[in-house]
Subunit: 228 residues, 2 copies
DNA sequence: TAAAAAAGTTAGCTATGACTAACAAGATAA
DNA sequence: TTATCTTGTTAGTCATAGCTAACTTTTTTA
C-alpha cells in the first residue's frame, strides 16, 4: 500500500485550522486564501493564525511563502477531507437515528469529528449503510478520501424565470437553518425565481404553494441544481 | 425543579480527575483517598494532582483539608456519575451496534464521554432502549443520576467448592479483557472454584467444559454472584 | 509615484495542565 | 522520642494556544 495514511496525532486546534483552510480553498477555487481571512473564518486573531500556520508548515501540511498566500499539501488536504467525512457521517447519524434537527447537528458534530478511532468511523458508516449525503445535502467523502465537489450553483446566481431544485444548504449558521425550515424549504424542493429586485437584490421565489421574498445573503447560502 | 443540574463547563482534565476520584472512593468504601494515590491512578505527577485538586476545591467539587484526604461534594459526585453514565452508554453502543469487541470499547468511550450534549446522551439511551448494563456487566446510571452499586464479590474472595456466576469484569486493562475472552469466559458464565493453591494463591476454576488456573490478580478483577 | 490602507509578522503576555526538584508535614518504626 | 519514610506541597519550567500592541511588507489609490 503506497497510500497508507499515518494517523497523524494532531491536536483539535491543528485539525480545526486544516479543515478551515480546506473549506476556504474549495469555497472559492480561484481566489487565494490569506492569513487574516483564515483568522476571521475561525474567529481568532491574525496572530494566532500566523502562529499555527508556522507549526503546520513545519509539519508539512501547509505551504506558503512569507507574506504570501496559504495552500495545503496533499497530506494536509487528506486530513481535512477525513475530518469532513467524520463531520458529515456524525451529522447523518444524529439526524437519522437520534432525532436531532437540521440546525442542531452541526455543533455536536464539530465535537465528534475530533474523536480518534478509525474503526469508529468506518463502522458508523457501515451501520448507516454508507450514506451518500448528510442532512444538509452535502456529499460525504468515502473511506478512500475521495471528495466529490459538485459545481455549486447558488440560488442567488439564477435569473428571473429560472426553475431549480434545492440540493444543499450551508450549515454554518443555526439561525439560517432554522429560517430555511420555518419557511418550509426542504432538500429537493423545486423553486421558481419569480422576481429579482434590483434595489436590494432580494428575490421573490415560489415553491410548493408558497411565495416568499428572501435576501441576497440568504440566497448565497442555498445551493441548487437548475431545472429550467 | 430543585434538582436542576448546571451543565458545568468543565475541561476534559477536570472531568477526568473528578471521575477518577469517584472511582477510587467507591472502590474502597472505608479507605480514604490521598493525593498521591489519585496521581498514581491517573498516571500523572503528585504535583499535577495537587494543582488540580486546588482548582476543583475552589469550584466546590472537592473537599479536603491541607495535608488531609480527599472527598467529593454532592455536585462533584453528580458530575462523576454523569461521566460514568456517558462512558457506559457509549461502550454499549460500540459493542452492540458497531462491532467493537470487549477490549476495544474502553479507549474510544474515554474520548466520547467528554462530548458535551445532553440531548446526545439522552437520545443514545433511548435509541438503545435504555440498556441496564454495559458490555462488561457494569450497571449504567440512569438519566436521574442514580447510581446503583451492587456489593461486589471478587472471584478471589470465594472458597474451594463455591459456585458463582460472572456478573462483571474490570474494564481497565485491554490485556486482561483479551485474556478473559480467550479462555472463553463470558458474562453469566457459571464458575466453580476447584482449588486454591496456598503457595501463590492461584485458583483452579471450572466453567462450561473448561478447567483453567488463574492468578490471584486475575481473580481480583472478576466480579461474581455466589450461587452455591 | 508617494501616501494610505490592508495584510502579515513579531514580541511579549495570559491560562491550562503537564513536569521536576526541593521542601514540609504526618506516620511509622527503631 | 527521635529518626526515617511516606505523603503532600510549593516553586519554577515547559508546551499549547489564545490574546494585544507594535511593527513590516504588500497592495491600493489618490
Amino acid at each position: 500500500m503506497t497510500n497508507k495514511i499515518n494517523l497523524n496525532n494532531l491536536t483539535k486546534s491543528e485539525e480545526d485550522y486544516l479543515k478551515a483552510l480546506f473549506q476556504l480553498l474549495i469555497e472559492d477555487d480561484s481566489v487565494k486564501v490569506g492569513n487574516n481571512q483564515l483568522a476571521e473564518y475561525l474567529k481568532v486573531s491574525p496572530a494566532s493564525t500566523n502562529n499555527m500556520i508556522k507549526k503546520l508548515k513545519a509539519k508539512d501540511y501547509v505551504i506558503s511563502e512569507k507574506y504570501g498566500k496559504l495552500d495545503l499539501t496533499e497530506e494536509g488536504k487528506a486530513i481535512a477531507v477525513r475530518l469532513i467525512r467524520k463531520h458529515r457521517l456524525w451529522e447523518t447519524f444524529l439526524y437519522n437515528y437520534l432525532n436531532f434537527t437540521w440546525d442542531e447537528v452541526h455543533d455536536v458534530a464539530e465535537q465528534l469529528e475530533h474523536i480518534k478511532s478509525q474503526k469508529l468511523i468506518d463502522e458508523l458508516d457501515r451501520f448507516m449503510d454508507f450514506p451518500k449525503n448528510d442532512p444538509h445535502g452535502e456529499i460525504i467523502p468515502n473511506a478512500d478520501g475521495e471528495y466529490f465537489i459538485l459545481p455549486r450553483i447558488t440560488l442567488s446566481s439564477l435569473s428571473e424565470g429560472d426553475v431549480c431544485q434545492l440540493v444543499a444548504v450551508d450549515d454554518g449558521s443555526v439561525n439560517f437553518l432554522k429560517y430555511v425550515s420555518k419557511i418550509g424549504l426542504v432538500l429537493s424542493s423545486e423553486i421558481k425565481i419569480l422576481e429579482i429586485r434590483e434595489f436590494d437584490k432580494s428575490i421573490r421565489i415560489q415553491f410548493d404553494n408558497t411565495v416568499e421574498t428572501v435576501t441576497r445573503k440568504f440566497a448565497d447560502n442555498v445551493f441548487v441544481k437548475k431545472v429550467v
